[in-house]
Symmetry: C2
């Protein structure tokens, strides 16, 4: 079975994150995309997202490895929801599995761009409770 174009984009994004190729990475995002950096802290727009990935790379001492273990795509018209199991590992850090949620939308050329990148999924709700 051929891969969904969004699956290929996410593979490209993961490779770009792991290689710290932020110029390639940022082209996968819409101009007004939101990245959840950590619960209750978001980056909005390409400049902030690029800066955030630079800081994340520094934080993990340039050993970050991100990959998707499983993925399901619900697509309709110009909108798609991706549900993924994302494996985040790095040297000297415990490997974490996240239940990520991504929203993609079609650009005017019919290609897909990431509009909302929330690798924390429903953990955002838990963090609300802890800080309340």
């Amino acid at each position: 079975m051929s891969q969904h174009p969004i699956e290929l984009l996410i593979q490209k994004a993961d490779k770009a994150i792991n290689q710290e190729d932020f110029d390639t990475l940022i082209n996968i995002y819409a101009d007004d995309a939101i990245l959840v950096i950590k619960p209750n802290v978001n980056a909005t727009g390409k400049a902030q997202i690029k800066e955030a990935f630079g800081k994340i790379a520094d934080y993990f001492e340039h050993t970050l490895d991100v990959k998707q273990a499983e993925m399901k795509i619900l697509e309709t018209g110009d909108t798609a929801l991706v549900l993924a199991k994302t494996i985040v590992s790095a040297k000297n850090y415990p490997t974490v599995e996240r239940r990520a949620t991504y929203v993609f939308k079609r650009d005017t050329n019919g290609g897909w761009l990431c509009a909302i990148d929330n690798s924390y999924g429903h953990d955002l709700l838990e963090s609300d409770k802890q800080s309340a």
Copy 2:
């Protein structure tokens, strides 16, 4: 704090589901919306979604009660991702808590419509594994 317009729409949808007011309910969905009826079974478009809610009401013997216990909205431009804890209860059925994911998009009048209604969240990935 005033409520997000999407939160009000979801409240309206829950009330319409519980009252079996499917004409009101269907107006909250985009023309090409997807509803996940159960893992690997989707309804697409207003006619199929309306039919599905009728069958769901029958299945639960007209005692279905749906409400959102918690909600987080990530919004950018014309796209929004909702992460919710959804409580589904009915007479003679155990109450279930689902980690729901909804995608809304703006219509041409600036209002919001539900494009993807997946109350099962990441359970879709688990069901893939079981049927593999």
